[in-house]
C-alpha cells in the first residue's frame, strides 16, 4: 500500500495576507505593511501609514518661522540638524540675508556629523535586522561619541535645534574642534572594522546581493533620492548639484554605485561616511572668525511669494516649500520628505522576493517613520 503524502498544490489564487507591523521590530517604528504572500514569495506590499501622523504641516500654519524649526527636528529625528538647516536656508533666502562664513562652515560640519551618526545607527540596526547582533553594539558605541559632541555644543543629543534663522543658537564649544578631530582620528581607525564585520561577511552578502533591484529609470521615476537613489546610479546629491552652506568650497566625491541592489545601498552609505569625514577634515581647522548669528528682526515676516529649498539629508532630498502671504505665519508649508517618497518604491522593489528579503530591503531603504507620517 502506498503511503499518502500531503502535497499542497500550487494555486494561482492561493495568496494570503499578513500584517507586518505596526509593532514589528524590523520596521523601526510604527510602520504597518500589509503583505500578500504566495508561499514565502512576496506578491504585494501595501504600506498603511498614519500611526504617528501629527499634522506638522497644519501646525506650521499657526506658528512663526523660528518655531517651525523645532517641529522639523521631530520629522527625521536622525537628520535633525539638516532639517533645521533647510528651514533656515529657506527663510534666509526669502529675506536675502547674507550669512557670514563662520555660520556656513559650522553648519556644514554639524550636518556631516549628523550624517555620520545617522549612518552609524542605520548600520547598527541593519546588521541587527539581518542577524548580526554585534553590529548593534559597535554602531551605537561609536555613535555615542558624536552625540557627546552634539551635547557639548548644542545642549541636546539628538533633536538638536541648533539652527535659528540668521545663524546658530550659540557659538561652538571651546572643545569642539579638538573633540571632532579626535573623533575623526578614532573613526578612521574603526571604519575598516565595520567592513571586516559585515561588508565582507558571506552570509550578509548572500542575503543582500541581487536583492531588491531598483533600476535607474525606476529610481528617477519613483523619485528615490539619497543613498538609495545613488546606489542605482542616480546622481541626485543636492550638495553637488545645488550647493548650499559651505559645500561649494570643499572637494568631495558623490558616491555612486550602479547595481541598485541592497548591497549597493549598503556600500554607498559606508562610503558616504568616509566622504563626510573628508569634508569635516577640510573645514575643521579653517573655521573663520566672526559672529555666530546675524541679528534678525524680532518678528520674522517673509515677503509674499513662494520659496523652495532643497537639502541633502542622510536619507535623501528634503524639500521645504513655503508659501507666504506676508504674515508672521506661513500660509502653507510642505515638507517633501525623503522617506515618504522612498517608501513609494518599496512595493516595486520587493515584488517576487522572499518575506525574509523584505526585512533586508526595508532596512536598506533606511526608513524613519516620523518623517513619513509627519
Amino acid at each position: 500500500m502506498e503511503e499518502q503524502v500531503n502535497v499542497i498544490t500550487p494555486d494561482e489564487k492561493e495568496e494570503y495576507i499578513i500584517n507586518m507591523g505596526p509593532q514589528h521590530p524590523s520596521t523601526h517604528g510604527v510602520l504597518r505593511l500589509v503583505v500578500s504572500l504566495k508561499g514565502e514569495i512576496v506578491k504585494n506590499v501595501q504600506p498603511h501609514l498614519g500611526y504617528i501622523h501629527r499634522g506638522i504641516e497644519k501646525m506650521c500654519e499657526s506658528i512663526t518661522y523660528p518655531q517651525i524649526i523645532h517641529l522639523t527636528d521631530r520629522m527625521d529625528y536622525l537628520s535633525a540638524h539638516i532639517n533645521n538647516e533647510a528651514v533656515c536656508l529657506a527663510v534666509e533666502k526669502a529675506l536675502d540675508t547674507e550669512i557670514p562664513d563662520r555660520i556656513k562652515v559650522v553648519r556644514t560640519i554639524m550636518s556631516e556629523l549628523t550624517r555620520i551618526q545617522s549612518h552609524q545607527l542605520w548600520w547598527a540596526s541593519f546588521g541587527m535586522d539581518l542577524g548580526g547582533l554585534t553590529c548593534f553594539f559597535y554602531g551605537l558605541r561609536d555613535r555615542e561619541k558624536v552625540l557627546d559632541i552634539f551635547e557639548e555644543t548644542c545642549g541636546s543629543r539628538m533633536i538638536v535645534s541648533y539652527n535659528c534663522p540668521g545663524g546658530l543658537m550659540y557659538d561652538i564649544h571651546a572643545n569642539f574642534q579638538k573633540r571632532v578631530k579626535d573623533f575623526i582620528k578614532y573613526f578612521r581607525k574603526i571604519l575598516p572594522e565595520y567592513d571586516q564585520l559585515l561588508s565582507g561577511n558571506v552570509i550578509f552578502m548572500e542575503r543582500s546581493k541581487g536583492i531588491g533591484k531598483l533600476s535607474l529609470e525606476d529610481a528617477i521615476s519613483y523619485g528615490v533620492t539619497g543613498p538609495t537613489g545613488r546606489a542605482s546610479g542616480f546622481s541626485c546629491d543636492i550638495r553637488k548639484h545645488e550647493p548650499y552652506s559651505a559645500y561649494d568650497r570643499v572637494t568631495f566625491n558623490e558616491v555612486l554605485r550602479y547595481d541598485g541592489d541592497t548591497y549597493s545601498r549598503y556600500m554607498v552609505r559606508i562610503d558616504e561616511m568616509r566622504e563626510s569625514m573628508n569634508i569635516i577634515e577640510q573645514l575643521i581647522d579653517n573655521i573663520p572668525e566672526g559672529p555666530y548669528a546675524v541679528k534678525m528682526k524680532p518678528i520674522i515676516k517673509l515677503p509674499e511669494g513662494e520659496y523652495y529649498q532643497r537639502v541633502e539629508t542622510a536619507r535623501g532630498e528634503l524639500g521645504v516649500f513655503i508659501i507666504s502671504d506676508g504674515n508672521k505665519n506661513p500660509y502653507r508649508v510642505k515638507f517633501r520628505s525623503p522617506n515618504f517618497v522612498n517608501l513609494g518604491a518599496l512595493n516595486h522593489i520587493s515584488k517576487d522576493f522572499k518575506i525574509a528579503d523584505l526585512v533586508a530591503i526595508g532596512g536598506s531603504l533606511d526608513l524613519v517613520i516620523p518623517d513619513i507620517d509627519r
Binding site: 498614519g50 500654519e61 519613483y222 528615490v224 523652495y308 532630498e317 516649500f321 508659501i323 502653507r332 513609494g344
Partner: protein, 151 residues
C-alpha cells in the same frame, strides 16, 4: 535652459498657458483640462526632459484649490514649477500624473487625504494617513473642536 527660455518654451506649447518668471523658477499656470497633456509633453520633449518630480503640493487658496508641481531634469539640471487650479471646492478633481512620474502615486494620495482633491485615473486613490471619518485638515475652512489650532 534658463528661466526665460523655459517660460518661452512653455508659452509656445499652448496659448492658454500663463507664465511668470518667479524668483527661483519659471512658474507656469496651466488650465486643469490641459494639464495632463502638457505635463507629458514637458517630460517627453528632448529640450526640457523633466523626468524628476521632486515635490507635489496641494494648496487651499481660499476660493480655489490648486496643486503645485516642482519638476527637475536630471539631464539638464533645470527646474520648473507647474500650477493648476480649480474653483470647484465641492468636488475638485485633476488628472493624475502617476503614469508619467510614478512617485506621484503617493503624493496624490496624500493630497487627496489632506485636501480632498481627487485625481482621475489614479490607480489606487485611498486615504493615506487619516481614516474616512476625518474632514480635510489642510483646508482653510477646516474646524477641529477638540484640538484647536487657530491662527
Amino acid at each position: 535652459m534658463d528661466k526665460i527660455q523655459l517660460c518661452e518654451f512653455a508659452k509656445s506649447l499652448d496659448p492658454e498657458i500663463e507664465v511668470k518668471e518667479g524668483r527661483q523658477f519659471a512658474e507656469v499656470t496651466i488650465p486643469s483640462s490641459k494639464f495632463y497633456q502638457i505635463a507629458k509633453k514637458l517630460k517627453e520633449s528632448d529640450e526640457t526632459y523633466f523626468d524628476f518630480l521632486s515635490c507635489l503640493t496641494g494648496v487651499d487658496y481660499g476660493k480655489e484649490l490648486g496643486v503645485i508641481y516642482h519638476l527637475f531634469s536630471t539631464k539638464y539640471n533645470h527646474g520648473i514649477v507647474l500650477k493648476t487650479k480649480t474653483s470647484d471646492r465641492e468636488n475638485p478633481h485633476f488628472d493624475s500624473v502617476s503614469d508619467i512620474w510614478k512617485t506621484a502615486d503617493f503624493h496624490e494620495r496624500e493630497v487627496f487625504d489632506l485636501l480632498g482633491i481627487r485625481f482621475t485615473n489614479h490607480p489606487d486613490l485611498r486615504r493615506l494617513f487619516l481614516d474616512s471619518s476625518w474632514g480635510y485638515p489642510l483646508r482653510k475652512d477646516y474646524v477641529d473642536d477638540i484640538n484647536i489650532v487657530t491662527k
